[in-house]
Subunit: 199 residues, 2 copies
């Protein structure tokens, strides 16, 4: 038996369907939305609709944009000959935050995952190959996560790009800055050893 009005139970259900939101949190969020000042809840709903209406993927790099092409691709100061390949749009935000990278991106929108039935045609790999085949690209940096699926995806794409005259690199993985050997997990230590450099 529901203890709340139907439309309120539905609101709780909606919040509970979001990732990482349990039943109790969903209830708290629903109460919060109901108690918002006049117009605020309507603005919330409108924000959802507007984001859905205006946000799409950039035809060049597949990153999220509300313009014709994304801000990075549209920027003349960015080096179009270097492409950094990431799994998700949020990874672009992380790399941009570092203010170190001046090339452009390619967002795959996923990684290869046989377990989840995600194959090469389910992510934006062919779009990347087309960009590289178009010429003028000197380096492709694979920046997928250093886990099984991220590594496999990077390897797969590196092999696909072999026929083209392009340098394919992978982000360095090792001990994070500020960390120490004692608390570094084995897998990271293996990467750190493999990636050791001349001093």
């Amino acid at each position: 038996m529901p203890f709340f009005p139907t439309s309120f139970e539905e609101l709780i259900d909606r919040f509970a369907s979001l990732p990482g939101i349990g039943r109790k949190s969903a209830q708290r969020l629903a109460f919060h939305v109901l108690a918002l000042p006049e117009g605020e809840a309507e603005a919330f709903a409108e924000t959802i609709l507007r984001a859905r209406r205006t946000v799409h993927t950039c035809p060049v790099c597949q990153n999220l944009t509300d313009g014709e092409i994304c801000a990075v691709c549209a920027d003349d100061r960015r080096d179009k000959s270097v492409i950094c390949v990431v799994a998700e749009a949020r990874d672009v935000a992380s790399l941009e935050r570092s203010r170190e990278y001046n090339g452009v991106y390619h967002v795959l929108h996923g990684v290869l995952s046989p377990m989840s039935h995600v194959g090469p045609d389910d992510i934006r790999i062919s779009e990347l190959v087309k960009r590289v085949a178009g010429g003028d690209v000197h380096e492709v940096i694979m920046a997928t996560n250093p886990d099984t699926e991220g590594d496999a995806t990077a390897m797969y794409i590196a092999r696909l790009l072999k026929p083209f005259d392009v340098r394919v690199t992978r982000l360095a993985y090792g001990i994070p800055v500020g960390s120490n050997l004692e608390f570094t997990d084995d897998a990271t230590l293996v990467r750190a050893l493999e990636g050791r450099r001349e001093m």
Copy 2:
């Protein structure tokens, strides 16, 4: 500098404005909403609007309802002579879940809190006094939380109801069922001792 399209940043901001949702979670939720199947995001927005449009407080007990009066007040089998006073609508749901209580409710929508500038006129106390003054009420059970503000609110209301021919009681507070003495905090133990009963 924002790393996402404006309308997407706005969606993140909206989610981040909800209680208990940090920046990272808000970003994850926004990505989730953007990736929802066709029509689902629209349904989410519509659910917010519908809940705001249809849900209001019951004119009798101040509980949430989308009908003329709430389901409990409308139920002929409920004992209208017993009123259980709770701070929030969610507390009604908790008590209903126990399937033990057969009276009706009164939702205060808050507790007295001088620190937060919440006085008697800011919560639904006068509506309760009117109900009791209307007669036919034999017992008022104070079920506000057993904390400073909940206790103070219960005391305040009990004093207001003194002039009327009505029994005012307070929920029993003590060691929770299934718990044990060793792990019971001092405040609860004090309550358990104060509330001890003849065997």
